[in-house]
């Protein structure tokens, strides 16, 4: 190692990540939909010209982890020119699900392409049969507008016809336009800062340090892998159902730790299903990266970039729930299946490194989309975190693949014809154990108007597992209180017409417990 590298690594780590973070701040503050401004459901990152991650801001794991796959599809697809901005949400070319719309801007220096900037945001609606575009569907075309990678800006020119035809297909086009402008503003800010960085340090130095940072993170990830016992670790778990008649959908993983490398093999997982819980490969990759980045965090605070990923190989079979192909419906793959993939990976790793692995968390993002012709609203609800070696799980939080904020009740009620009747922790829903799971949440909605509701929820049939004798967390429950006062149980995944005056109650799962009181203490 060059002698002063240790110093420069830290300096450039801070410089690159400051750019990604500033992009996020611009996006949040100028975004229009509550989804972006209140819930922060967006992510920003910098890639190099090969499409390898250089730096990212701490945003949403499922977005961030899926971006490398997006870039893999995009880099060679275009004859990149300065001023271009490409837009895509296509799950089959490296996207996640349709509401996550990604904008990519190449950054040129002296006429040569050197970096890409990405701003990905979850839009509250991308068209399709149901408001919120998170419906239980059976075909990708029902889920909304699929934007294959195409030009939003070509050499600095906004493609007006395309843009207006796009937003006209979406509900609430003004809000969509505001959010797109926020994404664009974020990319331009990132470009400005990257150019300043190059002016100050020189392109050669900046590129060299981008490379060094990757090598540094790769070394750290290899050190983590070295610390894990070699072996083959397997686990399987099930998704409840796909909302369209298929139940008990198997997700299976085999983790092979050998020769300072990790292979994660998902072969044997269920074939893709009719309903919308299929995960494109990018989502599966994001889940794998998330798990190993959390483990890496136990060694220290390392920059997250391509180097972290390179010692990890992921094997999937196209046409399965973890590698969906056209025309699979995928809206829930990103939000639900990704969580189960994490559960399966943690289950497998719990035999390799029990002192680092928590019991299963809530395992669902508990997606609720509500709307009618005049509004579209989408939110997710947290749950219980699994008990952890040495401490209980947290209650009422988003776990693993998401970390969106809630919308304040007072903001929600001001903006939409809805009322929240109850928003509380769900007592006794955490799995018992020496280190108990966290409690889930109960959220009750009152409808001030007729509306369509879509629920995409999981762990209504299979509970979040406990580990080493800890008990499982409570399963989630959804029901509707009708005008007559009757309580009608709802399936985990459903599209539903709700009348004014009815109430919807969502109880989210608790986390699994970790270790029974009697279990032998871990080494």
């Amino acid at each position: 190692m060059q002698r002063t590298l240790a110093i420069e690594l830290e300096i450039f780590n801070k410089l690159f990540s400051a750019i990604a973070e500033e992009m996020g701040i611009v996006l949040r503050r100028s975004g229009f939909s509550p989804n972006i401004r209140e819930r922060c459901d967006f992510s920003c990152a910098i890639f190099d010209k090969k499409g390898e991650l250089v730096a990212q801001a701490s945003h949403i794991p499922v977005h961030l982890g899926a971006m490398p796959e997006t870039m893999k599809h995009l880099v060679g697809r275009f004859d990149w020119k300065d001023g271009d901005v490409i837009i895509t949400n296509d799950p089959f070319t490296g996207g996640t699900h349709l509401p996550d719309i990604t904008l990519v801007k190449p950054v040129f220096f002296k006429g040569a392409l050197e970096f890409f900037l990405i701003a990905r945001a979850h839009h509250a609606d991308v068209g399709g049969k149901y408001a919120g575009s998170m419906a239980v569907s059976t075909h990708i075309d029902e889920e909304g507008v699929r934007i294959s990678p195409t030009y939003l800006f070509k050499e600095g020119e906004l493609q007006e016809d395309f843009f207006h035809s796009l937003i006209s297909k979406l509900r609430n086009p003004e809000e969509r336009e505001g959010d797109f402008r926020a994404q664009i503003a974020s990319l331009f800010r990132g470009e400005k800062r990257l150019k300043e960085l190059v002016t100050k340090y020189g392109l050669e130095k900046v590129l060299e340090m981008a490379g060094e940072l990757k090598a540094y993170s790769q070394k750290a990830m290899q050190e983590l892998i070295k610390s894990l016992p070699e072996g083959v670790y397997s686990f399987e778990d099930y998704l409840d159902d796909d909302g369209c008649g298929t139940e008990d959908i198997l997700i299976k993983a085999q983790i092979i730790i050998k020769d300072n490398k990790i292979v994660v093999d998902f072969r044997g997982s269920a074939p893709q299903v009719k309903g919308s819980i299929n995960a494109p490969r990018a989502v599966t990759e994001a889940a794998v990266y998330y798990v190993f980045l959390c483990l890496l965090n136990t060694l220290g605070d390392f920059p997250i970039n391509h180097g972290c990923f390179s010692p990890i190989e992921i094997i999937t079979e196209p046409g399965t729930v973890v590698d969906a192909v056209y025309p699979a419906a995928v809206s829930g793959g990103n939000v639900e299946t990704s969580q189960r993939i994490v559960d399966v990976l943690l289950g497998a790793l719990s035999s390799a490194c029990p002192e680092l692995i928590p019991a299963a968390s809530c395992g669902s993002m508990n997606n609720v989309a509500i709307g009618n012709d005049s509004f579209a609203y989408y939110e997710t609800i947290g749950g219980g975190m699994g008990g952890r070696p040495g401490k209980p799980g947290l209650s009422g939080v988003h776990t693993h693949m998401t970390n969106t904020l809630n919308t304040p009740v007072e903001a929600l009620e001001h903006d939409y014809p809805l009322r929240i009747v109850r928003y509380s922790l769900r007592k006794n829903s955490g799995g018992k154990g020496k280190f108990p799971g966290g409690e889930g949440i109960i959220r009750e909605y009152y409808f001030c108007t007729d509306a369509t509701v879509t629920l995409l929820t999981e762990r209504r049939k299979y509970s979040p597992y406990g580990l080493f004798g800890g008990e499982a967390g409570a399963k989630g429950e959804n029901f509707l209180i009708t005008l007559s006062g009757g309580k009608k149980a709802l399936p985990g995944k459903v599209n539903l017409e709700v009348k004014k005056g009815e109430r919807l109650v969502i109880s989210t799962p608790g986390g699994g417990g970790y270790s029974s009181f009697r279990a032998r203490p871990l080494k």
């Binding site: 701490s58 505001g178 009422g396 304040p408």
Partner: protein, 647 residues
């Protein structure tokens, strides 16, 4: 006599004016009873007015030694403060923790009542419910009570009804529509809860202090940079938590104004952290302050703090990179050169490089041990294969990047170009790093005030009394009449309040601001109320985000703000020159170019108008200024140093 006293962790600073001349004293703080240090500091004076910046509330909160609070909210939302915004504080961490609690889980009560988002009563608050609530409170007998009902900022009747019923219990009450009548229930609840948590602590402290200062009018500095009466601080204790840093920023603006500079980035580097604040003509405010994990949404001077200071500890991480902080050696055990523990800190790096002279620290009152600094830095250097000096330089560079990042956050990230600002540098260690920070961010001019410590106390002494009032109104921008009527209501309320806490509103001037956003947005920008506030908002939006929707998207008035500002106790000051304590000499300082010979100059040897050039070390009891090569300097009014880049 008018005196300002700022209590800090290590020192208590006393600043006063004697015939218009600013004087300062520094005494050691007495953490177990902070009032003792105040009495020590003002010994021999008879203060008429004493403005006090205190950390009693801050420390009680950080140490979680506040009151046992009962929290009352709308039924169905009992877990409001436990759920918070539903997010976890760290992303890639299985072992992440939420901030330590300030409320017991069994100390929340859901009361049956409901107001709608239009401010209408959906479910009236019944006497039976109130009785049930009172019984519950009597059962748990809390030390303070916080009340936050949904949408109370629109219609506060239910909270008021509860308040008058609960008064008989005789426990301090914090009511959300009084503490923060603004929307976003979690932020309002958290702020109200923080207030309730601190009221008993502050009341006890202030009552005791007042007893010890018979005859003096005691005023308490607040987080908005103004002071108010003890009565006010006892009722709204949450306003006192950032009073020290607020004094510093206010002081910077006052000091620089004398030199006709009003666009500043303040840079206050202390032992464990660095505070920065961007001042564009006036003190900036934020309502998004997070106090040790909990939103405190009152207007506080917008100061960004990073965990990087003189005491920050350097180490090599497992990937082989050099890191500095956020762990700090603090004042005790302190940097290695203090002789208590071999922590390689930023201060040690400065000692090794020759920028801090071991026998001139704190005016020579405290001898530093350079050999221990060298030993500590060597422990890092040997792992990197670098010399002690190269390692020290690396530590400084990494620390500078961390601190530059704080400056970026308040400037570039908010649409301000730091090159248009003066870096205003105070605090013990800031002037050692000012040139490097300026270079990193392209800042051309640095200003360093001469004040023997106590810069925050100086800010207090010249700050006005001030109180902020607010109300979420949710109007369309064209609803001018309704806006006018809300302003009138708020003004009446404000006047009544000032009278209640013992101040005469006639002596106050008012400023009105509006929090505006495009309808549909969730983040508001604050602009002064005027005929053209919509245009001003659009301009501000464009500056922050690079675009606006002029006229295309309706603008919404979210929150109305009224600030009442009085007259400061003192409005002008000057500094007298002290005797020079040593003759200038030469020393060796290690820089990028290796060792260079550098003159060491006593700040007190300067006259106004003198000029100088880097490299140079300028020394005064509590500050060392490292003027890098490439910078030229001049001495201005009040012996203020101005450093400018030569290119």
């Amino acid at each position: 006599m008018n005196i300002a006293v700022d209590t800090g962790g290590t020192f208590t600073d006393v600043v006063y004016l004697e015939d218009g001349v600013l004087k300062a004293r520094k005494v050691f703080s007495t953490p177990t009873d902070p009032s003792q240090a105040i009495l020590n500091g003002i010994k021999g004076f008879t203060p008429t007015n004493l403005i006090h910046g205190t950390t009693v509330g801050t420390n009680a909160f950080l140490e979680r030694k506040g009151a046992r609070v009962a929290f009352i909210t709308t039924s169905g939302f009992e877990d409001l403060v436990f759920i918070g915004r539903q997010a976890r504080p760290k992303l890639y961490d299985f072992f992440v923790e939420k901030p330590a609690p300030i409320l017991r889980e069994d100390h929340t009560f859901g009361i049956k009542e409901r107001i709608s988002a239009e401010g209408k009563v959906l479910l009236p608050l019944s006497d039976g419910e109130i009785a049930r609530c009172i019984n519950w409170i009597k059962e748990i007998s809390p030390e303070a009570i916080a009340v936050c009902l949904l949408h109370s900022y629109l219609y506060s009747f239910h909270e008021e009804k509860l308040k008058s019923a609960l008064t008989e219990i005789g426990v301090p009450l914090s009511i959300s529509s009084e503490v923060l009548p603004e929307f976003r229930e979690y932020e309002r609840a958290s702020t109200t809860l923080i207030n309730a948590y601190l009221v008993p602590v502050m009341s006890r402290y202030l009552s005791r202090l007042k007893e010890k200062l018979p005859g003096a009018n005691l005023y308490i500095q607040q987080s908005n940079g103004g002071w108010l009466t003890v009565e006010e601080a006892k009722e709204f204790a949450c306003h006192t938590v950032l009073s020290g840093p607020a004094g510093g920023a206010a002081g910077a603006l006052l000091w620089a104004s004398v030199l006709n500079e009003k666009r500043l980035i303040t840079f206050d580097m202390g032992g464990t952290s660095t505070d920065v604040c961007l001042i564009d003509g006036e003190l900036p405010f934020t309502r998004e302050y997070v106090f040790d994990g909990y939103p405190l949404s009152i207007p506080v001077i917008d100061i960004h703090t990073v965990g990087a200071g003189g005491g920050s500890i350097a180490y090599i991480d497992r990937g082989g990179a050099l890191k500095v902080g956020p762990q700090s050696a603090g004042a005790d055990p302190g940097p290695a050169c203090y002789g208590k523990a071999l922590n390689p800190t930023v201060t040690d790096a400065n000692v090794v490089l020759g920028r801090i002279l071991p026998d001139m620290f704190l005016g020579g009152r405290y001898q530093l041990k350079k050999e221990l600094s060298e030993e500590a830095i060597f422990s890092i250097g040997k792992k990197l294969g670098l010399s002690i000096e190269e390692t020290a330089l690396g530590i400084i560079k990494v620390a500078n990047i961390n601190m530059s990042r704080a400056v970026r956050k308040v400037s570039l990230e908010r649409g301000y170009d730091p090159q248009e600002f003066v870096l205003f540098c105070f605090g013990g260690a800031g002037a050692l790093h000012a040139c490097a920070i300026a270079k990193e961010l392209g800042i051309k001019k640095i200003m360093i005030p001469k004040l023997a410590g106590g810069f925050s106390a100086f800010g207090l002494l010249l700050s006005p009394p001030m109180k902020d009032f607010s109300l979420t109104v949710w109007l369309a921008s064209h609803e001018k009449e309704r806006l006018a009527s809300h302003i009138e209501t708020l003004r009446k309320k404000a006047f009544k309040h000032l009278k209640k806490v013992g101040l005469n509103p006639e002596n106050f001037t008012e400023e009105i601001f509006l929090d505006l956003r495009y309808k549909g947005q969730g983040f508001e920008l604050t602009v002064p109320f005027s005929e053209h506030f919509v245009e001003d908002f659009e301009e501000e939006h464009a500056r922050h985000f690079g675009h606006s929707f002029s006229g295309k998207v309706p603008v919404e008035i979210v929150t109305l703000r009224l600030r009442l500002k009085g007259t400061p106790l003192a409005e002008s000051f000057c500094i007298e020159k002290e005797n020079s304590s040593f003759s200038n000499f030469e020393t060796r300082v290690y820089t990028e170019e290796g060792y260079v010979s550098v003159p060491v100059v006593d700040w007190n040897s300067f006259s106004v108008g003198d000029t100088f050039e880097g490299p140079m070390l300028i020394i005064e009891s509590f500050t060392t200024v490292w003027v890098e090569k490439g910078f030229k300097g001049q001495v201005k009014e009040n012996y203020t140093l101005i450093l400018e880049r030569k290119d």
